[in-house]
Symmetry: C2
Subunit: 456 residues, 2 copies
Amino acid sequence: MEKPGLPSGTRDFGAEVMKQRRYITGIMQEVFEQHGFGALETPALENLKTLQGKYGDEGDQLLFKILNSGDFLSKANESHLQEKNSKAVVSEISDRGLRYDLTVPLARYVVMNRDKIQFPYKRYQMQPVWRADRPQKGRYREFWQCDIDVVGSNSIVSETELVAMYQEVFKQLNLGVMVRVNHRLILDAFLPLAGSLDAWTQFMVCIDKADKIGAEGVSKELNERQLGQMVSAWEFLNQTQQLAGNEEKLAAIESYRQKIESETHQLGLDRGVKELKMMLAMLDNKGNVELDVTLARGLSYYTGCVFEVVVNDSQVPADFKIGSIGGGGRYDNLTGMFGLKDVSGVGVSFGLDRIYDVMLAANLFPNNLMNAEDTWLVCAMDEQCLPYGYKIAESLRKEGKKAELYPGTPKLKKQLDYANARGYGFAVIVGDQEMNSQTMVVKNLLTGEQETQKLK
Amino acid sequence: MEKPGLPSGTRDFGAEVMKQRRYITGIMQEVFEQHGFGALETPALENLKTLQGKYGDEGDQLLFKILNSGDFLSKANESHLQEKNSKAVVSEISDRGLRYDLTVPLARYVVMNRDKIQFPYKRYQMQPVWRADRPQKGRYREFWQCDIDVVGSNSIVSETELVAMYQEVFKQLNLGVMVRVNHRLILDAFLPLAGSLDAWTQFMVCIDKADKIGAEGVSKELNERQLGQMVSAWEFLNQTQQLAGNEEKLAAIESYRQKIESETHQLGLDRGVKELKMMLAMLDNKGNVELDVTLARGLSYYTGCVFEVVVNDSQVPADFKIGSIGGGGRYDNLTGMFGLKDVSGVGVSFGLDRIYDVMLAANLFPNNLMNAEDTWLVCAMDEQCLPYGYKIAESLRKEGKKAELYPGTPKLKKQLDYANARGYGFAVIVGDQEMNSQTMVVKNLLTGEQETQKLK
């Protein structure tokens, strides 16, 4: 018989990993709820027409598609089959696909339930998503997203709350991070200089690479792309970014206003600066929120604040490379894809798998996650003592302890091995003698000490 | 634009339903962990060769199959395509399917990790499964299973622990249930009388219908199936079942021993009776564990104890019909399907969706699940008060309260509507006056009382 295996890019999570993952998600959930966010879970299956066309051509390729049930070929076009035209046949034999992210399901949910939802709608969602990507280190075909969004509010209070939740979650996880913030309306101010939306979009793509190719690399690439006029804009942003504090940077941005030709973009810059100031005034900064005027966050649908969270290098081993562990921004047309206009949303996500990897590398999980000290194994020496042992386990549980009777009566060593392998704190050993005298031998598995105790 | 919808047989779970579902799963999780069980999560995707052939022909039909990525038709057989032979083409264009239950993934996990796992392995798993069944009331294509299993122990202690967890979970949920227990080795004793395995299997199928067709219906069907010799066996079981207590029933079963011709089946009956006695001796019965000698639990792979949980009728409205909300048993060859022999397992499942429906019908969810009284909305009267309001929300959260600042400054009525719709306990109202005097107006949303308080 062939050995069973896992599909490439998927994982099992055993007891210990589950404890660690739940330690992270438990903290998140508590922080989200405390800020007035409610949970949402959507199905793994979505109609393909819900998913397709939302993630670009590449995204459509990466959707996992479900074969229709029964005689699925009956509806397929014969000449498409003959030509082995996979692309044409797909839509004839598949109506559903697996969830690709949590944003499209949110938009669908909001549109479907717009009459029931009281806006602003604040939801968090922590569920797996699936992408038929080539698996590699740290990239899976089934992975977890954790999104928090506020839908139907255009107040900067929502952005502030999201950043504060980043701060609070990572504080509780003991993970030092920097939250980088920028505003798309500030970058928009360079649109007149770019001359066209396409040129400006290319500019955004270039400056997003600064982390990888360096400031000079960006200038070089701009020239290569025939965007020489944008080099000065990049230099301005990069110099501004060197300034010491958020206030200084904002002042520099404001000084740029006079160079903008279009009034629309002047007003946009005003609004961007005002919102950032408001947010920074509300936040308890703690030194871990930084205005980063070079932050673009490529996705074209962002229209206001954008965010990115990076881990402080000092917390992880030098050779441990990890990108951002979170990000997001405001998108003014979340539900437009489903025909509901003018619903503004703002959201951020936590990269659960990456956060897990960082926590592990930085050794930040509490030691006693698997078993508190107060865990007990009751060992019976022979079968007739099992009921007596069971009663002891039951009474320990009634005291709130984690306790179990070993199922069966193999040699004591085997039973104690089981307890030690699981990191249990105590063993209770009972034989005929203990049963007859209503006592038990209590052994501390950490110190090895043992003593006979009367049953309570 | 077409209105977006959900695939048939799937559901969204909004904030309130999520609270209720987590109330149930939270209690389960705590009880399982207290008994020494650890969590397991497996991927939604499994290789089709892992899934196929495990659930019978009908099950194979109900598997959701994933289309291979890219040019999936390239490997398909041309004449199969031409014939539109869906059945043959499936295996040529699909290598993976969606998880159909939690038992096969458990078996796969145990076989793959047998060198790492310390047996007995005690795991619980709460995850959705998918079946391409025809959706109807209470039957979904995506639904939740919650399984607990002990693998690698053949001690009746494990059965006892599972029944005790049923008792404890439903006690904490305030849901009155009866746990029905039987032992396959007792039913096996009628195999010599049946004369063939096929006849005996038909007998099992018939007695499983007693709930629906009544005792006489079972006798009638046995005669119709040419199983007249089994009518006396059924009458014996049915009469035994009328006896008052578990002890009386076991005594009646023991008295049947002399009628068994084969020694193997005599010894089997002895073992079945002994294990049931042992289990009942260990359990704190509380009157909700009943030996049901007519319980067969059709699935052929059970080899020892079998279980079923039913809700007490008195708890639900008279017109509320629901089948069992849990069940399971011992299967001596769990991992045999993947080539690992002689690993005994015992497991039970909780029917999460049905339990949810019962809890709702019986009105058993706590009232304050959505919001404890201590939830606060801070309302700012104009934009310049937002930072002041934000600080108040922040300080309320630091006191452990659930608190948020309304995002924006619409009319107070709109802000209070938001708080009332969510069942919040308090509103804090701040305007220029409050900001200047470092005070706040605190309004009790339940009583309508309000008073001005100094900021702490």
